[in-house]
């Protein structure tokens, strides 16, 4: 059962990663990479690593995404 769940989550992660790399819109790409972080935190949980899952959930999906958006906002400001 867990294997099926892991496979579904894996498809979501791979699609998210592909979208993050190939999308022209930067905001959509950054959100997609946040989804990859979120899904990978669930994968860590399935592999019996709750410590890693906790860190990845707060860093991979929240803090990294936020820092990317701060950078993007700054770049738009500089643009005028």
């Amino acid at each position: 059962m867990l294997t099926v769940l892991a496979a579904i989550l894996g498809i979501a992660a791979v699609v998210g990663a592909y979208y993050a790399i190939h999308n022209e819109k930067l905001t959509a790409a950054i959100i997609a990479s946040g989804i990859v972080g979120m899904v990978s935190s669930i994968l860590f949980l399935l592999l019996a690593a709750p410590d890693v899952a906790m860190t990845e959930a707060s860093i991979g999906s929240a803090l990294t995404t936020a820092i990317f958006f701060f950078t993007l906002n700054k770049i738009r400001q500089t643009n005028g």
Binding site: V14, V36, A49, F68
Partner: protein
């Protein structure tokens, strides 16, 4: 039932790492390159945790009396990945700070516009 869980998750990490590396190398936009780098890091972390997985293992937490109640997964790769994730955030933030400064200088995100060190 779940005897292939380790292999499935490792395959996912493998694909993520390859996709991230491809994005890092093929994109021209610097922010896209950093996105590729962070996906690459995630993939490598998943591979590392999957290496330490033991079939049917539980999280390496003992019960209150300090006895091992079940088969455990390997705690060492988990400890390494834990630090690796935090370092990954620090490195990503540092690269984004560089991008901000570079953009202020040349008003471009395209990596091909930065030829100052090219010869």
């Amino acid at each position: 039932m779940d005897q292939y869980l380790g292999q499935v998750v490792m395959a996912i990490g493998f694909i993520l790492a390859i996709l991230g590396l491809y994005g890092l190398l093929s994109q021209k936009n610097m922010i896209k390159m950093i996105l590729g780098f962070s996906i690459f890091t995630t993939g490598v972390n998943i591979i590392m945790v999957a290496i330490g997985y033991v079939k049917g293992g539980t999280a390496p937490i003992l019960d209150a009396e300090g006895n091992a109640v079940a088969k455990f997964v390997d705690p060492v790769p988990q400890a390494l990945v834990l630090t690796s994730i935090v370092i990954g955030l620090g490195v990503t933030a540092m690269m984004l700070a560089y991008v901000m400064k570079l953009y202020q200088d040349k008003k471009s995100l395209n990596i091909n516009d930065y030829k100052d060190l090219k010869w």
